[in-house]
Amino acid sequence: MAEPLLSLDDLAVHFKIGNALGGGIKTLKAVDGVTLDVKPGECLGLVGESGCGKSTLALAIMGLLPPTRGTIGVDGQEISGSKAPDRMRMARTVQMVFQDPYASLNPRQTVRRTLADPLRLHGVRDKAEVEARVMDMMAKVGLRPEQADRYPHEFSGGQRQRIGIARALILKPKLVLCDEPVSALDVSIRAQIINLLLELKDELGLAYIMISHDLGVVEHVSDRVAVMYLGRIVEQGGWQEIFENPRHPYTRALIAAIPDPFHRAAISAKAKARGEIASALNPPPGCHFHPRCPLKADICVSQDPVLAAVAEGHRAACHFRDRVS
């Protein structure tokens, strides 16, 4: 088996929020004990409801948020330790497509500079080669050559999202963290981008973490899928296992709620989650999912279920993970 490219061990990212005067300081456990591997050339889909900690997890891997606990290993390098990681090497290894394209682009840099600077910084000296690679990447994400000298605000939302994708791919990293990379794209360009990501995976052995609310996209691209709920992984397994044989009640609810794009008449009733959306500020004791769980029993309130195997490579954190349907 190949060495993992990324390995997270018991990773936690907590935020202190509020102030001592108005209501007191609280700890928000955005990510709380995540253990996860991504192998070279593998695509891991990461799903879970809004606020469950997906972006925080990705930002921690990028070294943009300090872990509260646990370790992050990237390509054999420990980046969470006391020694500062080698930034240049990190940049060639991991890149990220940020959820909010506008906020993540430098408003005073043209597309050309946004894409050319990293190349030059990483030793591509030949002007013609820089230019050729910038143009090639722009074409691959469906931007036209004459748009190279424009600034981010001159683009539409979907165009900006593609600039973010081009920036993440330009150095041909080994791992790309994609945080809702196609949410602002129409279906045709979305298809083009997804096809591109899969091509690069085959050609260059690129690995991805794919964060998306669109489970159709996740099903299409993922080799394995991890499901997050309030900062923890509650289920993890091969894509087909997760979509066809989900074991955690939350995963089941998630999959049952997937709308058929053309027959949505019944979706809103079906999709409405039972009960309140969970609050990271106030997580329930025991299994975090218990207030909304149809299978809940006493043990669920008193004891945290651990992530344990239900089948080869398939794990679920539920006391009743073996109770099929």
């Binding site: 539409s156 008449a265 809103s268």
Partner: protein, 325 residues
């Protein structure tokens, strides 16, 4: 009063650049009745957001209104003064922006930003307004709203920010809600709730919605009528059920075909997603005749020379294509 709530008539949006002026949008006309939800879809960069900004009176250089009329409730507003438009915005017309971070003030707690709407537009005192802000956050399903009102935008997840913006837009029960990709960052369960909330508002207060979205299923589900834009023009408009069941324009057909269908991969293995070949032309270089012609599978000589006129469709709606199906 009878007549549509919003009438956009022959709208042109000019883009100044490189010593010349181009039409980024032209010949765009549509009407939205009171309490009606109207959908606008189309390729990334085709002009949906700037059309919405024109309605809101928010076009900024190098973009400007180049012609046409915008009639709100029988009154032309395209030449309204900045002060007049400010009064209309928030109270009578409100917008959910595509990128939350561009619309939220990073330096102000989100509760205050919502409460401000009640203070400015309903003359409420701050204390009462803050209570209303908390209710508004609860309505859009942000958990622990009593704590979240104190958070700054950067402390929220992407989906929470989007819901804060929805809360701001819905605060004063506007007559017209312009929703630009309102649910891109939301998972299906929350999305279903937000859509219900908007639909309730439509029914209870007669709010009309201009819904811009790449999610064809969402549009089909929510809107009565839909217009499809391509390269700055409306190429087809029809009843929502009809447009996806029997698309008339080759571009609309391409859109419907590029959707990844859930369950496909299990049945047939991973197929390459269908794309519409080629890229959208740039505003400065729109092709003569039908602007879709370089990418169209049904193109003939006439398409390259003559701009197709709007042709009424048998049931309802129109299409702009020389060889529509």
């Amino acid at each position: 009063m009878t007549g549509p709530l919003l009438k956009v008539d022959n709208l042109r949006i000019s883009l100044a650049g490189d010593g010349a002026t181009y039409s980024a949008v032209e010949n765009v006309s549509f009407e939205i009745g009171r309490g009606e939800a109207f959908g606008l879809v189309g390729e990334s960069g085709c002009g949906k957001s700037i059309t919405a900004l024109a309605v809101m009176g928010l076009l900024r250089r190098p973009l400007s209104l180049g012609g046409g009329r915008i009639v709100l409730d029988g009154k032309e507003i395209q030449d309204a003064s900045a002060a007049e438009m400010r009064r209309l915005r928030g109270k009578r017309i409100a917008m959910i922006f595509q990128e939350p971070m561009t619309a939220l003030n990073p330096l102000s707690p989100v509760g205050k930003q919502i409460a401000e709407m009640f203070v400015l537009h309903e003359g409420m005192g701050w204390n009462e307004a803050m209570d209303r802000a908390e209710d508004a956050l609860r309505q859009v399903r942000v958990p622990s709203p009593e704590r979240r009102i104190k958070d700054y935008p950067h402390q929220l997840s992407g989906g929470m920010r989007q819901r804060v913006m929805i809360a701001i837009a819905l605060a004063c029960g506007p007559d017209l809600l312009v929703a630009d990709e309102p649910t891109t960052a939301l998972d299906v369960t929350v999305q279903a709730e937000i859509i219900d909330l908007m639909a309730e508002l439509c029914a209870a207060k007669g709010t009309a919605i201009l819904m811009i979205s790449h999610d064809l299923g969402l549009v089909a589900n929510m809107c009565k009528r839909v217009a499809v834009m391509y390269a700055g023009r409306i190429v087809e408009s029809q009843a929502a059920e009809a447009i996806f069941a029997t698309p008339s324009h080759p571009y609309t057909r391409g859109l419907v075909d590029s959707l990844p269908r859930l369950g496909e991969r299990s049945k047939r293995g991973r197929q390459r997603l269908r794309e519409i070949s080629g890229v959208v032309p740039s505003i400065a270089a729109y092709p003569a005749g039908c602007r879709f012609n370089p990418r169209c599978p049904s193109v003939t000589e006439v398409c390259r020379e003559v701009v197709p006129e709007a042709t009424p469709l048998p049931a309802e709606g129109l299409v702009r294509c020389h060889h529509h199906g």
